[in-house]
């Protein structure tokens, strides 16, 4: 099967660098799928779960933060502020992060603080969504 080059760069490391069969990313208005020989494009990415098919029918899920994907000449570069595998997520920490954000949401805060907490809450929920139903966390 045809593949394309995929590079996922998070702010603290290069998360993945190699070939990929297909990729699904969370765009602001829903998921977007990328197959080999995709048109050249830059797509904005929201906090959410991306899936990449590295071998046939073997999908790997990744929790990503905001950023964007760039597709040029059959090479895809994802630049996101965070990228984590489900097994790297610390459920306890994510829960604490969510609780803290929810607590702050209830208090009076400025618009800027509100957006900030909202983003933090979104990241925490996203982590939990990815990690919670994994068998090692049951």
């Amino acid at each position: 099967m045809e593949t394309f080059g995929l590079k996922i760069i998070a702010s603290d490391r290069v998360f993945y660098d190699g070939r990929c069969l297909s990729l699904v990313i969370p765009a602001p208005d829903g998921e977007k799928g990328i197959l080999p020989r995709h048109e050249n494009m830059v797509i904005a990415i929201d906090v959410g779960i991306a899936r990449m098919e590295l071998e046939e029918c073997k999908w790997t899920e990744v929790a990503v933060g905001t950023g964007f994907a760039e597709i040029v000449n059959n090479r895809v570069t994802l630049l996101v502020d965070t990228a984590e595998r489900p097994e790297e997520i610390d459920i306890r920490r994510a829960q604490e992060q969510r609780d803290r954000a929810e607590e702050q949401m209830r208090q009076k805060q400025s618009i800027q603080e509100y957006y900030h907490t909202q983003a933090s809450l979104a990241r925490a929920m996203n982590r939990l969504r990815l990690a919670q139903d994994k068998k090692w966390n049951l």
Partner: protein, 295 residues
Amino acid sequence: MANIREIQSRINSVKDTMKITNAMYMISSSKMTQAKKKLADTEPYFYGLQGEISRILRHLPELKHRFFDQRGKIPKEERKIGSIVITADKGLAGAYNHNIVKVEEEILAKPGIHKLFVVGELGRHYFSKRGVEIDTNFRYTVQKPTMHRARDISGAIIDQFLDGELDEVYVVYTRMENSVQADAEVMKLLPLERADFNVMKMPLNMYREEIDLYPSAEDVMDRIVPNYVNGMIYGALVEAYASEHNARMMAMKSATDSAQSLIKELSILYNRARQAAITQEITEVCAGARAQQKK
């Protein structure tokens, strides 16, 4: 010649100080290695962002965006200039803090309404005494730079920029050239300038690939630019952290070295004084004995 006890206590006090400077040297060197590693880890992300903005600008030369708005209509005297100044939390780092303060003073001398965002206790002290307006809600330390802190800082800055409370934003930090050289530097953060992203001059007849921006160019820029600013601030924080510890390491190394040479000198003095005391005692004993014999 000073007496033996005085010299002895002097030697001991120098030795104690040397222990401290030596410990600080080792702490700084280990912290610096960590900081360097952090910096190397973020570099691909950072350069990726920079390359991407330049690519988008290349393909969409007519793109107008609020982050690129130079606000040229505002006269020089009324421009609100914000600077993020990154100093250390404490001294004992050679000329590190002094260099930063000097660069910031140059900015303050220019026309405009200045506002400071100081990271680091030492700079905060200095500028509050000097009577410049400092954002008081802006309390961050320079220890252990994290992405989270950079996000806090860039969030506050971008917000003020978009609200029109700031027209220009600079970062004053120390960039590490290599392990012996570090320079205090000013970096313009906002508004972004096209010239910064060295837009390549391409021949007109060359085919350029078309790039679609999804959902829209504005949306994509809205995501890239805050991340870019965030990355710049994070990079500056880490660079400053690494150079602070490098400066402290060098300062502490030279302090330890000079303490060692001081101890060497003092111990020679001490030995001389001891020798003199012994000689004197012997002379006294001999003189006493001879006086006894003569009786």
